[in-house]
Symmetry: C2
Subunit: 186 residues, 2 copies
DNA sequence: ACCTGAACACCGTTCAAGT
DNA sequence: ACCTGAACACCGTTCAAGT
């Protein structure tokens, strides 16, 4: 569905160049970097960038969707290798680290997800399923309260990431507090 | 210190007009509203706006500092009227509501606070003291764990607000989870 | 079918001229 | 001392012309 239909060779080449360049520029300047810079450094016209990525979110999605897929897959791997609570902790920590890694990344991704662009639909459902899997295991084991929803894990992770992106040294402490809040309360 | 030194009558008039207009425009368009719009509607030149408010944050501060002061004072009032845990819950809820009320407000205020502009220094310390008071009462009563810091309350409240500003119906549930995380763990 | 890059619109910021 | 508003820079977005 999001699988791109065949492109002409030059179009595909440009598409790849733009994504590769955007990946670099986002690292250097954050996800608010001028699209013009990206087009220039990718040596394409501004119009070409817009043709492939009508909205900034589409470009952000193209750059980060692989990482999000990876984050999602990690959930199942962690569930294999650890008990449900540890899997939850490790997965949430990964979510927070990912959100914190580049200033503004978390906010940009969240905005993109909330808008549910077609490009992100895939990522979004994969990520939701991963959260659901991690959560279900923990709930079945009785280590997380039953009224928590998969979406809550993502929102809480996002919240911690955004709140601490200026001071990453606070991430872990806030995450611990948040995770404790997920435990069944007396 | 942040108390403004005397201004010429026309300067003061313009200052007030700008703040009043900004308040309206922020409500209508959010805190990213074009400064130009604000200047035009306030019927001042763009340069006048910049003279009074060199950075957008300064204008944001002027508009919202009274509300932040109010939020801070509320802490002491709540401590008078409720037991420490309830005061904490009610105060945190107020923080979240305030952050959620206008899209982008929480992020803008946080950015301003992190940058610690002179204009915000006052607000920031007042708010920190309020958080410390609420927290200390709760810790003394043994209903909140000892390793929590005042700053954590603000960060957690901010996180919940940002995470749920697109879906305010999630605010309360996330806040409950977060507050439970603050309780002393077994 | 796709690309280019000039053109346009918009907005933040500065500054020379005015009071 | 303060204000004005034109001017400049920057960036997102579109579109006519080209291949």
């Amino acid at each position: 569905m999001t699988t791109p239909r065949p492109m002409r060779a030059d179009a595909r080449r440009n598409y790849e160049r733009i994504v590769a360049t955007a990946r670099e520029v986002f690292v250097e300047q954050g996800p608010e970097a001028p699209l013009d810079d990206i087009a220039r450094r990718a040596e394409v016209g501004a119009g070409t960038l817009y043709r492939h990525f009508p909205a900034r979110e589409d470009l952000v999605a193209a750059v980060y969707s692989a990482a999000i897929q990876h984050n999602s897959n990690l959930a199942y791997q962690l569930l294999d290798e650890h008990d449900p609570w540890d899997a939850l902790v490790l997965w949430m920590r990964e979510q927070v680290h990912f959100g914190v890694q580049k200033r503004g990344l978390a906010a940009t991704l969240k905005a993109a997800m909330d808008k549910d662009s077609a490009t992100f639909a895939q990522c979004k459902s994969t990520l939701n399923e991963a959260a659901a899997a991690v959560l279900k295991a923990a709930q079945d084991a009785g280590v997380v309260r039953d009224d928590v929803k998969p979406r809550d894990l993502l929102l809480l992770g996002h919240g911690v990431a955004v709140a601490t992106e200026a001071t990453p040294e606070d991430s872990e402490r806030l995450l611990t507090i948040t995770l404790d809040g997920l435990k069944p309360q007396r």
